[in-house]
Symmetry: C3
């Protein structure tokens, strides 16, 4: 693709040879000759100098003295995303149901969906147009997969799960396993039947080896546009709000409710029956205790406290040996004074 | 089902219309008209008032002034479980081996077991009566699955694993992968062959995407009636006692032994060669250091301490900035006194 | 196998009956009659006495007064590994492609590789000699698996992944899922296409249900001989050095770089853009903050500090209630002095 074509695709201003051939798009550290890349912020200009890229996408103004082609745009990061999409148009498998897939009675598969070998579609399940069901995927009885979804290999969607449009579920994830609920009677754990479902709204993306349990009754809910990373645990009856983000290895326990655009960082643990307000951030590896209600804010620690307080508390935790020494010194000095005053009496 | 029939099924006393038709069972917040639900404790009576349910199961005595049918029983929670079982009798796949499953030589599959498409049963493996093997399940050579077990889709049971009766393993879990053991010689990690097995006793339930490693030699053991949640790691040669509970994303490292009815809360980490006495509780996100022996009690923190001590220590951690300030103030006041006494000399 | 044969296999000195028949190899606590076992260090001699084993492998010198056969070698642990290998020669499936596997156009499978039923090999993928592809494995288009690799059941290797020789990937793991990258524009998370790959070098072992994401551009890299345990998260563009170890449930976030022979203990979390020097150790459940550079050392805590400092800080954290009490006592004593001096004026 010629640099001039890229400039007109992105609507940017070009400095350099418009006829230069661009052969790839890459991050600034991975870029090779022939690649176009972008500079996240002008303060990183040193990286632009050191990069092998043929052309750098910059924000608004050209960098002075840079011996490379430059393309100035409003939003370099978005331009980079658009170019990645352009250069790497995803090749989706052709529509159609493989003769090696198993389609149960009453399943409805849109003629524009692709179902690959060794996929299993349960009774009465529905797969929408444009969706791709990779090998080893299980879709349980009566579950519905919307349009333009991708279920990567070895994903399990149990019965009674409803998935919207443009949802991606990465390999090995499990949607709709039984919630973890028992009552103890006479030394035995009696299982509480988990008869609810899971609803995953449009534009959700779910990482690999993530588990989202079905509700005891009612539904576990993942709101529109939420993004969930790998190895995340979402327990029964959890509600995740629109546009929220849950990073890898975090867990949300039973019946907790996250508002919209909440961010839960990696390895954080949200206990059961927690409520978190819209726009809140829960820091990495932090822990929210059962039943807590968090008003809008940024939190960290275990149990969580406001993020600023945590930063101070943590720096003091590291300095506890000094604090302890200071305390002992004070004790000695004070004892000295006391003894002296005693002598003076 | 008529309310009078439910009352006689559960052995409770009814207030309201015995002929009322009940169409579903649901949690108090999810219940719609026609549903029956239950009240966990009288203090939550406000929830009963606000619920759309047709009938509320209460403990022993009717709630006064509630404009709904009520059913008084000894144990509302158990009554709820029984009703869920009654209304949602699990539909198990019909017995029989799918022509699309792969059954190796010498495998013995009971005529009352169900083996679904794309399941793989290894040489000499045994599947007991009433067990269901879902698509994508792998059962390795010589492994034994007892009666009335359910192996959900894409579960892997490696060779040499023994599973009792009425065991449920949720989708994507892996039983019997190699333990993580190496010795370092001349800059190389040499693998210690992991030639032991895994024994899972009767009535165990294992969540989704959980890993239980085979022993180096001998067996990793999950005791009768233990319940293990999603994304849990159980390392080689671990022993989990009868009726113990391990909550999501917790991990137990090599050769550790949990007694009976131990509870390990979510994201807790038990290091290797730990011993935990019967009935102990290890709190969420806490960490037990290698080789620790915990006598019966409740623990939290990392490294763990008694739960009460941890609560105090954590509230003081959050107050460390205040403590530090108090320390500095004391230092100033003490210095003032010292200077003054010096002047007086 | 006769004890004399074992002695000559391991090159050790024997005390006891050379004609004794040894029927198995086992850890010292699992060993039964007929088994050979080993003693890790002389200080554990009590365990040797109590073991049912027929013969104990010891280091250099025979234990006095032990009523068992003994075999003295330089390196008992290595001898034990060699015996385990000898007694438990892994039975690999016979070479050949199952008629129930799906092989896409242009895939190249070495005649000495084994591809089992329900495996799916994508277009142009390559499987090297001696490699075993278990049921339910997915190998994406153009991915390359080297020689003598084992991909256990239900492993997913997405497109564009390169795997070296003698690599083992345990069941349920996912290599090459999309990295977790979005940019937020006008209230929507726009996906950054993840078009890079994953390179796994020779002699790597990867546990069960572990996820290693593909790079945004460039490659995520797992260096030669690295060992990764179960349920580990390796994010996009991470580089793991040669011989490094990542223990179960640890996570490494985007673009972080671990040097050679680094050890990351269980449940530790390494945030993004971290650099860790060769030979460093990050303790269990600790957390390394974004962008941190760790020079060679042992670290623990969250955020991490040097391991020794952490030990002190943690013991003082548990003692915070005492420290707080001491602080209050000092305050009272100081106030007493101040009041007294005031009265004296």
């Amino acid at each position: 693709m010629k640099l001039s074509e890229i400039a007109s695709l992105l609507g940017g201003r070009l400095q350099g040879d418009p006829g230069m051939e661009i052969t790839g798009v890459s991050g600034i550290e991975d870029a090779g000759p022939g690649d176009i890349t972008y500079l996240l912020k002008p303060s990183l200009a040193g990286k632009a100098e050191g990069s092998s890229a043929a052309c750098i996408i910059v924000k608004d103004a050209f960098l002075p003295g840079l011996n490379k082609s430059q393309l100035a745009v409003d939003d370099p990061q978005l331009a980079f995303v658009r170019l990645l999409e352009h250069f790497h148009a995803a090749s989706r498998p052709a529509a159609g149901v493989s003769g090696l897939a198993f389609i149960s009675e009453g399943a409805e598969i849109d003629s524009q969906a692709a179902v690959l070998p060794f996929a299993f579609i349960g009774e009465g399940a529905r797969i929408g147009a444009g969706s791709v069901i990779y090998p080893g995927v299980f879709v349980g009885a009566g579950s519905k997969i919307g349009r333009d979804c991708t279920l990567y290999p070895n994903v399990t969607v149990r019965e009674g799960v409803t998935i919207g449009d443009r949802v991606r579920i990465h390999a090995g994830s499990v949607i709709g396993a039984d919630g973890f609920g028992y009552i103890m009677r006479e030394g035995r754990h009696i299982k509480i039947p988990q008869v609810g479902g899971v609803v995953i709204e449009d534009d959700v993306e779910i990482g690999a080896c993530t588990t989202i349990d079905r509700a005891t009754t009612g539904n576990t809910l993942i709101g529109k546009g939420a993004k969930i990373d790998n190895l995340v645990q979402i327990a029964h009856n959890v509600k995740i709000g629109v546009g929220s983000i849950v990073v890898a290895q975090a867990g949300v326990a039973g019946s907790s409710t996250l508002g919209n655009y909440v961010i839960v960082a990696g390895q954080a643990g949200i206990a059961d029956h927690v409520r978190i307000e819209d726009g809140s951030v829960v820091g990495a590896n932090s822990g929210v205790m059962p039943g807590t209600s968090l008003s809008k804010g940024a939190y960290a620690g275990s149990p969580v406290m406001p993020h600023r307080q945590w930063l101070k508390a943590m720096s003091l935790t590291a300095r506890l040996p000094e604090m302890n020494k200071a305390l002992q010194d004070l004790e000695k000095r004070l004892s000295g004074l006391e003894r002296r005053l005693l002598r003076e009496e």
